[in-house]
Symmetry: C3
Subunit: 437 residues, 3 copies
C-alpha cells in the first residue's frame, strides 16, 4: 500500500520558494546556469546523479553543442547609458549569442533586435542554439525609446568545447517496472515554462522517496529539452523501452488556469487511463489536446523504437497562452495553489498506479452483509433501494478487471473503489488476484 496521505509532503509555500530561488538563474541547454540549477535540485534530492556529456559527442542524430556561458551583455547609447542590460533580465540576450564588442548604427542594430509589437511591455524569449548568431530581446517600449545611436553592443560570452549537464534519480521499488518523469532545466527566467516542471518533480520525488513500500521503480530525469532527452535515449533506450510502464513529461504546471491534457501517441495505455481518471475523479475540468499538439519531450520518448507511453497533464499549455516564452511568464504568473494543484494531480496518478490491483470476490453469490453489520437489517419502507456500493464492487470483482476498470463500471472514483476493496478484504469478501493486471 502507498497511501496518498502518508509520507513527506512539501508545502505549497516550499514549492513557491524553490521557484523564487531558481528563477533568476540564467539557464540554457548548457552552461553554468544549468549546472547551478541541478546542484540546487541535488540539495533537495541528495540521491540525484548529475552527469556531464562532452561537446561534440554524437547522440542519435544530434551532436552535443559547445558550452555557452555568459557574464555580461548590454547595449549602450551615445551617452553611455545601458539601454538594454542582461543584468536586469537574462531574457534580454538571445540564447547562445556569440561574443560581440562593436559599435553599430541604429539600422545595423535593428537586425539583431526582437520585440513584441502587440505586447509593448513584454520581453520575448529567443534562442539560436545551432546557428552562430547574436541578438537582444527587449520590450517594444524600450525599442521605441532607443534613440538613433550609434550604439555600443557588448556581449561577454563564450561558446567553447565543454559539456552538457543533466541529471537523473532512480528510486527503487520492489518491481523493475518503471515510472518515468521527465522535466527540463534549460529555460532562463520564466516560471510556468519552465520552472514549474522541475519544482513539481522535486516535490513528487521527495514524496515518493519517503514512502516505505513502493511497487514501481521511479525514474526522474532533469535535462535540457530535446537534446537532453535525445542524450538520455541514446544512453538508455533499450532499458527505458523494456521497463517503462507509464511516463509523464512534467511541464507548465504552475499557474491557476484550467488544466490541459496531452494524450500519449497510443491512446488507451495505462498512462492515458490514469491521467483521464484522475482528472475526472478530482472533478478538474481540462482542455484535451491532440498528440499532434505535442511540443515537449514526448516528441522524443514516444518516437518509434522508444515507444514510451508518455502523456502530460499541464495547467496553461506551452504555445497556447499569451505570456508563453516572454518575460510575462514570471513569478506572478505562477502561484502556490497552481503548483500545489499540479502536485496533487501527480500524487494521485502515482497512487492510482501503486494501489491498483485485480480483486476477486471470494463468495459464489452476494455475501451476507447483515451478519457482518455492513447492511441495514430491516428493509426500509418502499425505499428506492440502490444496491450498496460494496455489492456493486464485489459483483465486478471477477479476477480479471482491475480497480481502474471496476471504478468506471460502478461509477465511483478510484479512491472510493479502493476503500471498498479494503473493506471487502477486511471482511474476507475479496482478495487480490496476483496474476491479474
Amino acid at each position: 500500500m502507498f497511501p496518498l496521505g502518508s509520507g513527506h509532503h512539501d508545502s505549497a509555500a516550499d514549492l513557491y520558494r524553490w521557484a523564487t530561488d531558481l528563477f533568476p538563474i540564467a539557464r540554457s541547454i548548457t552552461g553554468e546556469g544549468t549546472r547551478q540549477t541541478l546542484n540546487y535540485v541535488k540539495n533537495l534530492l541528495p540521491d540525484l546523479k548529475i552527469h556531464e556529456i562532452s561537446s561534440g559527442k554524437t547522440v542519435l542524430d544530434w551532436t552535443i553543442p559547445k558550452e555557452w556561458n555568459i557574464k555580461t551583455a548590454y547595449i549602450k547609447d551615445q551617452s553611455g547609458n545601458k539601454v538594454v542590460d542582461f543584468a536586469e533580465n537574462n531574457l534580454h540576450v538571445v540564447g547562445y549569442s556569440k561574443p560581440v564588442d562593436i559599435v553599430l548604427s541604429r539600422d545595423e542594430l535593428e537586425q539583431h533586435l526582437y520585440s513584441l509589437p502587440l505586447k509593448p511591455n513584454w520581453v520575448p524569449y529567443v534562442t539560436s542554439y545551432y546557428k552562430e548568431s547574436w541578438g537582444f530581446c527587449l520590450s517594444e517600449e524600450q525599442r521605441s525609446n532607443l534613440g538613433n545611436g550609434p550604439f555600443h553592443v557588448y556581449i561577454d560570452a563564450t561558446i567553447q568545447s565543454g559539456s552538457m549537464s543533466y541529471a537523473d534519480l532512480v528510486i527503487k521499488g520492489s518491481s523493475k517496472k518503471e515510472i518515468l518523469f521527465t522535466t527540463y532545466v534549460c529555460h532562463p527566467s520564466m516560471a510556468n515554462n519552465e520552472l514549474s516542471g522541475p519544482i513539481v518533480a522535486i516535490a513528487l520525488a521527495r514524496w515518493i522517496a519517503s514512502q516505505p513500500n513502493r511497487k514501481y521503480t521511479y525514474r526522474f530525469v532533469f535535462a535540457p529539452e530535446t537534446i537532453g532527452a535525445i542524450t538520455y535515449i541514446a544512453q538508455k533506450r533499450r532499458r527505458l523501452k523494456r521497463r517503462t510502464y507509464a511516463a509523464w513529461v512534467l511541464t507548465c504546471m504552475g499557474d491557476d488556469r484550467t488544466y490541459s491534457y496531452l494524450p500519449p501517441r497510443i491512446q488507451g495505455s495505462p498512462v492515458d487511463i490514469i491521467s483521464r481518471k484522475v482528472l475526472k475523479d478530482l472533478k478538474l475540468s481540462f482542455e484535451e489536446y491532440s498528440f499532434l499538439d505535442r511540443g515537449s519531450d514526448e516528441r522524443q520518448y514516444s518516437w518509434p523504437g522508444v515507444d514510451l507511453p508518455i502523456a502530460s497533464i499541464m495547467r496553461s499549455k506551452y504555445h497556447t497562452y499569451p505570456e508563453y516564452h516572454t518575460s510575462a511568464d514570471d513569478l506572478d504568473f505562477i502561484s502556490e495553489s497552481g503548483l500545489d494543484g499540479s502536485l496533487t494531480v501527480m500524487k494521485n496518478c502515482i497512487s492510482y498506479l501503486e494501489n491498483n490491483l485485480t480483486p476477486k470476490s471470494t463468495t459464489y453469490g452476494e455475501p451476507n452483509l447483515g451478519k457482518r453489520d455492513l447492511y441495514p437489517l430491516i428493509n426500509k419502507v418502499n425505499q428506492r433501494a440502490a444496491t450498496p456500493d460494496l455489492l456493486n464492487f464485489l459483483i465486478y470483482s471477477d479476477g480479471h478487471s482491475n480497480l481502474w476498470e471496476i471504478s468506471e463500471s460502478i461509477g465511483l472514483t478510484f479512491d472510493e473503489t479502493l476503500l471498498l476493496y479494503k473493506s471487502a478484504e477486511l471482511h474476507g469478501l475479496a482478495k487480490r488476484n496476483k496474476r491479474g493486471k
Copy 2:
C-alpha cells in the same frame, strides 16, 4: 423447429385466474404459505420437484433461517375492537415477526408501526428476516385513527427450526445446453411484485413442455428471493455455470405500463442480443436500465464464479413504481393483457433461441430466381428496384453469421429472416452450417 404458434397456450384469462387463486396466500421466505404456493404450481406443472432444506444449514455465505409461520395477529384498542388485523391483509404484519401478547401504550406501540405518510390509504410491505423483531404495517389513515390506547397487541406466530421450500423443473431438450428461468415465491399479497413472475413462468413452462422438439434443455426455478437463489447456486453452481447458455429472471411482468429491460452484467451475450431484438421486432418501447439498477436474483446468478448471462424483461420494474411493495400492488394493478404481453415476449425469446441457425448460401453468385418463380420476370419500367429480401438474405449467408446477425444486417425481424431461410432451404438455395454458431 419450434414454431411460435404451435403447442399448448394458456389463455390470458387462465393466467389471471391463477394470480387470483394465489394472491391471498401469506408467503414468506419459509413457511406453509410458500409450500402451499409451490403445491399450486405443481398442480399445473406435474413434473415440478419440490425441495426442502433444513433451517441452520449453511449455504455459501448464508444460513437457512428458522421457519416462520403465523396464524393470527391483531391490535385491539381499549374497546376490544381489532384496529389492525392480519386476517384482513397479510401485509399488516412485518414479515418474520416474533410472537407477541402484550399491552402497550400508544407511545410504546408507535415504534413498531410502519405507514406511508404520502400514500394515506396504502399499507406498506416490511420484513425483518435476519433480526428478531415484530411490527405492524398499516395505512396512514388507520394510524391517525388508532386512538390513545392502551392496546392489546397479539401475534400468534412461530419461529422454529424447520425448513425452507423451493422447487425446480427440468424440461429436457436434445442438447445439454440449458436455458434458465428463475422466479420467486416469497412475497405475500402483492401482484406485480411478485405473483406475475411465477404466473408467466408456469405458462411458459407448460408451452415449452408441449413442444415435441426442443434444442435446448429448460430449467425453471421457483424459490424464495436471494436465499433461494443462494441455496440453488450452493447446490448446482458448476452445472449451472457449465451448461447455461441464456437465463432470465421472471419478475414484475403483470401490469400494462411500458416495458423495462435490465441487461446482463456482460453485454453482448446471447441473452442480451435476443432480449433487445425481441423488444425491437415486436416494436415494444422500453426503458433501459443499467446493470447497477439490478435488484433481483441476477444479483446471485451473475456473481463472479457463477457468471450466468442473465437479464430481465419486465413491465414496471421493482423500485420504480409508486405501488411497489405496498398494498396498492394488487390484482387491479396487474391485468390479463399485462401478463399475456409478457408471456408473448418470453415465448419469442425462446423461439429466437430454438430457431436460430447459421445459414450458408449454396450458390457462388445470385441464384436464378426467375426460373424458380421467385422473381418478377419482366423488369418493370424505371422502378426503384429494391433488391429482393431473399437475395439480401442469401448474400449475408456466409456460413459464419447466424440469423440474429443477418436479420440486423438486412433490416428485418428475426421471424421474417427465418421465413426467408425456410424459403431458401426449400429451393435449395441455402443450407444450415452445422458447425456455425
Copy 3:
C-alpha cells in the same frame, strides 16, 4: 513508383468521342451489338481477349440464353405510317422481343406498350431476357397520338442458339495480387448507365498499361451485367477469390452531379479505405449508400464463396435519378468533365494502391532537421509552433502503420503524406518496411 501524373492520359474529349461512337449501337446481353462494342474496345485495348460462350451452357445456377439479334421493328398505322420505329431509337423495342408480323387492334396492341405517364417525352427501357415475349416502348406523347388502329406490328428479330460475348484484359504487375475492374456492355442507347463505365474502364486500362512499373496485376472485365459476371465467376472463381486485393464495379460515371459511393459487403477492407480516402482527399462530396442499395455486379462478385472486396464510386447512381433507364439518359446527360472526373478518381485509387507502403523511421528520436536545412534555425518569437508535418509523419512511422493510416493520423492527404515519405527517404530519415502492409 507509379506517379499519378505520368503515363498516357486520354483527354476528356477522347472519352466523350468514344461514348458518341458507341452510343447508337443496339446492345443486349447477347448479339451483334455487343460483339461490335467489344471490337471497338479491342481497337483501343489491343490485348483485350474476347470470349464466346455457347447458348445453353450452364453457368453456376444459370443457363446462357439464346442469342438475340434484331434488324427492323416498327408499328405501322392504317395509313402505313411508322408510328414507332426501332430505326429511330433502339429503346423502342423490348429487349429480347421475339419476331412478330401481325395486325392488331388498338386494344390488343395496348398490352404490349410501355410508356412513362409522368415523363411524356421519354422512352423507357424494358427487357424480357428469360421469358419469351415482345413489346414496344414509346413516349407517352407518341402513345396518345397512336390513333385507333388496326396496326401492323413487325419485329424482324431472331432468338437462336448462338453465343454470349464478353471480354477481359490482364495487365501484369510484379505481384500476383490483382485489382479487378468490371463493367458491362449490355445496355442499348443510354449513356450514363451504361456507356460511362466501359469508357472510363478503357481510359483507365490504357493509363495503367502505359506505366512502366506496376506492383499489382490489373484485370478488366467487359461483360453483360449479371449473366456475364455469373459466367466469369463460373470460370475463375478460385483464382479471383485467392488473388483479388481490391475490386470496383465501373458504372454510372458520366454525369456532373454529386458523387455516390456504394461500400463493399465487408466494410474496412482496403477498397473501402481507399475509396473513402480518395473522395475525402479530393474534397468531393458524395452520397453514401448502404450495401443493401447495391444493384450491379457486386451482387455476384461479393457473393459468399466469391467474397471479393468490391465497391463502386459513381456519379448519379442507378435507380436514383429520374433519367435512369430512359431515353433521357443520353449523350447530353453525360459530359466530358463528368467522365474525366470519374477517371481522375479511379486513377487516384490506383495511385493510393500502388504507392502505399509501410514506412519506418530510422532514428530513435526526432532527427536534427536543422542540420539538413529542413527546419527554421531560429525559433521565431512566441510563434504558435505547430510541429512540422515531417516530424508528425516520422513519429507515426512505426513500421506497422501504412501511408493510408498515417495520413489519417496526421490529418493530411495521401499525396501529401507520400511526399513526406519521399523527402524523409531522401534524407535517410525513413525507409520502407518490406514486411509491412
